[in-house]
């Protein structure tokens, strides 16, 4: 059995700016991995590489055993139909209704009869609590509803691996908890593997089997949440305690450069 996600020596960069450096990551079948880290630390970039949207500057990425950038179109499509991706802003197609959005992967990739497809769609929408919104267009929905609809689309084909970019960010606590529980349930029922990028510690506590913490392109911590609490890395503890990094002292600042006598007091 190949790893659901296998990343070796990944280096990512935009122009000259290196985002990720020599990153190794193996995700086991059926585990929920959450990726943590400050803004701009490369979490979303990691996700984009995992699903083949970006080409690594170095290293290899294998999704369900396949290197998407080397694969031919048929293989790629086959692997992508076994993968679900929930984008940060939902990324629903605005020209289609919610129901059509969820139906899209089913229509394009399966031979299911139309009646069955529409039942699957209604079921998935009902699972995310959007049964009544089926006929609406994405711009008519609130941000939280869009995200839930996008989750329904991501799980339309019952994927083996699900990637979520901030599944519960910007949602009220109840809805967020609902999404977290849904992700757990799906994992428990279908042995679905989940890789979730998140900022929300509350969400991490609910779903994470394993935590990967990134900082400026490097892995700062990897292990369970309990191990994370025990970690003696200062940056990890700061993150858990929501503490801002220590401010730089007087030297090298503008004030110091103005040689203020106040400094000596």
């Amino acid at each position: 059995m190949p790893w659901p996600l296998e990343i070796r020596g990944l280096k990512a960069q935009y122009g000259d700016k290196v985002i990720l450096e020599d990153l190794d990551l193996l995700v086991e079948k059926g585990e929920i991995l959450t990726v943590l880290g400050g803004s701009g630390c490369g979490k979303s970039t990691l996700l984009k590489h995992a699903v083949g949207l970006m080409e690594p500057a170095a290293g290899t990425v294998k999704l369900l055993g396949l290197d998407l950038l080397q694969a031919d179109e048929g293989e790629k499509k086959e692997v992508l139909t076994r993968t679900g991706v929930l984008f940060q802003g939902g990324a629903l197609l605005n020209s289609l209704t919610i129901a059509e959005n969820v139906a899209l992967p089913l229509e394009q990739h399966t031979d299911l009869p139309g009646a069955v497809i529409s039942d699957v769609v209604r079921m998935k929408l009902s699972m995310v609590g959007l049964f009544d919104a089926a006929g609406l267009f994405p711009p008519e929905l609130s941000g939280g509803m869009r995200k839930r609809a996008a989750l329904a689309r991501a799980i339309a084909l019952d994927p083996e691996i699900l990637f979520c970019d901030e599944p519960s960010a910007g949602l009220d606590p109840l809805t967020a908890a609902g999404i977290d529980r849904l992700i757990r349930d799906l994992r428990d029922t279908l042995a679905m593997t989940v890789v979730a990028v998140t900022h929300e510690m509350a969400s991490v506590k609910l779903i994470a089997d394993r935590v990967l913490m990134l900082d400026e392109g490097n892995v700062l911590f990897e292990g369970s949440l309990a191990e994370m609490r025990e970690s003696n890395n200062q940056a990890v503890q700061d993150y858990l305690a929501r503490k801002a990094p220590a401010a730089a002292g007087g030297t090298g600042t503008l004030l110091a450069a103005l040689h203020c006598e106040e400094e000596n007091k």
Partner: protein
């Protein structure tokens, strides 16, 4: 003594020694900074070292702090000193809160040198040209292979696009062509009447509309209403990650979005061109009836004699190529969007301008080709 509005006064201490000492009183904020800044900068540019007393300043805001960053930069360039001798408590806080990460961030100028910028522009231009060619290759390869692939795009998408790109444009194309035909006939009528050659208005219009004006007018209108729409649609989808979402759903964006439009425009563009030619000639006929004493029968008869199959076919061939140019240029601009809603507006504009430019250049090339054949 100087005044920077009622809220801030500054006082030069009489001592002529270096550095000159200055006492500020009042509020140093975005309202009072301009006047102080000007006064201090004048001194610094003359190479005068300054020592500034902020003890009596009630309030300093970020503009005040930024002023010091800029003055310090100028002072360094001039090789003179800039000091803050005493601070009020609030000013001390302000320096702590409104801070740069490091001094170098505070005093560096951010602007690449001229040549570097030009070189960057050139590199970007070449990259864009390469992308355009790749997009053309993708679009046409997939257009040719899609009929043999299972479900390349949503069922009915091509027909839906034909309605959007074609039938909804027919009204405006007909109206504009009618008016242009009318104007052309009017212009030439004055000349032709002198020779008593009224009836040749029909010949001229038939030739001009089928060979040149109908394809060109249609293309310019379609570039304006559909080229921009394609660019805006694709750009918006890219900005909202819908394009990425399509990819992860195993749907190739060019094939899913552009190919149905290509099929549609390949049919609608010639049809619109035919409509344009017909209405242009009708416009001329109206002038013929009203001002040139030509009966509709005579006009139609004369037109039919003037029409040449080769002209009609070359016009239609041109129109198809124009349609493709509009579509590919629109899609190209859509895909290369960067930076949010403002970027969408920018690429939409350039889609229209480039499409019209491309169409006119292509038209000139066609004219040369048909001239020699």
């Amino acid at each position: 003594m100087g005044e920077a509005g009622p809220r801030l006064s500054f006082e030069w201490l009489p001592d002529e020694s270096r550095p000159r000492e200055l006492v500020l009183r009042g509020v140093l904020d975005k309202v009072s900074v301009p006047a102080v800044y000007k006064a201090l900068r004048t001194k610094i540019l003359r190479g005068v070292s300054l020592s500034i007393d902020l003890e009596n300043v009630e309030r300093v805001d970020s503009a005040g702090i930024a002023m010091f960053a800029d003055l310090l930069r100028s002072a360094k360039e001039k090789g003179c000193a800039l000091k803050v001798s005493r601070l009020s408590k609030q000013a001390g806080h302000a320096f702590q809160v409104f801070r740069f990460k490091s001094l170098s961030e505070a005093v560096t100028r951010i602007e690449p040198p001229y040549l570097e910028r030009k070189g960057q522009d050139l590199i970007e231009f070449l990259a864009a040209a390469k992308e355009l060619l790749l997009l053309c290759a993708d679009t046409f390869t997939w257009a040719l292979t899609s009929p043999f692939v299972r479900r390349p795009y949503r069922k009915g998408a091509a027909l839906e696009q034909a309605v959007i790109l074609g039938s909804r444009a027919s009204g405006i194309v007909a109206l504009i062509s009618f008016i242009v035909g009318l104007t052309m006939a009017l212009l030439s009528a004055t000349q032709l009447r002198t020779f008593g050659a009224n009836v040749y208005v029909a010949d001229m219009l038939a030739l001009a509309m089928t060979r040149e004006l109908a394809p060109l007018l249609t293309a310019i209108l379609v570039a304006g209403r559909s080229g921009s729409a394609v660019a805006a649609e694709v750009a918006t989808m890219k900005v909202t990650e819908e394009i990425d979402a399509l990819r992860t759903l195993g749907l190739e964006p060019v094939r899913f979005l552009i190919v149905p439009k290509l099929y549609a425009i390949t049919f609608t563009q010639p049809l619109l061109t035919v409509i344009s030619a017909i209405f242009g000639i009708l416009g001329g006929m109206l002038i013929g009836m009203l001002l040139l004493n030509l009966s509709p029968q005579t006009f139609i008869h004369q037109t039919a004699r003037a029409l040449i199959l080769k002209d009609i076919l070359s016009g239609l061939l041109k129109s198809v190529v124009f349609g493709w140019i509009i579509l590919v240029v629109g899609a190209f601009n859509g895909f290369r969007v960067s930076g949010g809603a403002e970027g969408v507006g920018r690429v939409t504009t350039s889609a229209v301008v480039q499409a019209i430019f491309g169409v006119i250049v292509a038209d000139a090339i066609f004219s040369l080709l048909f001239w020699y054949s």
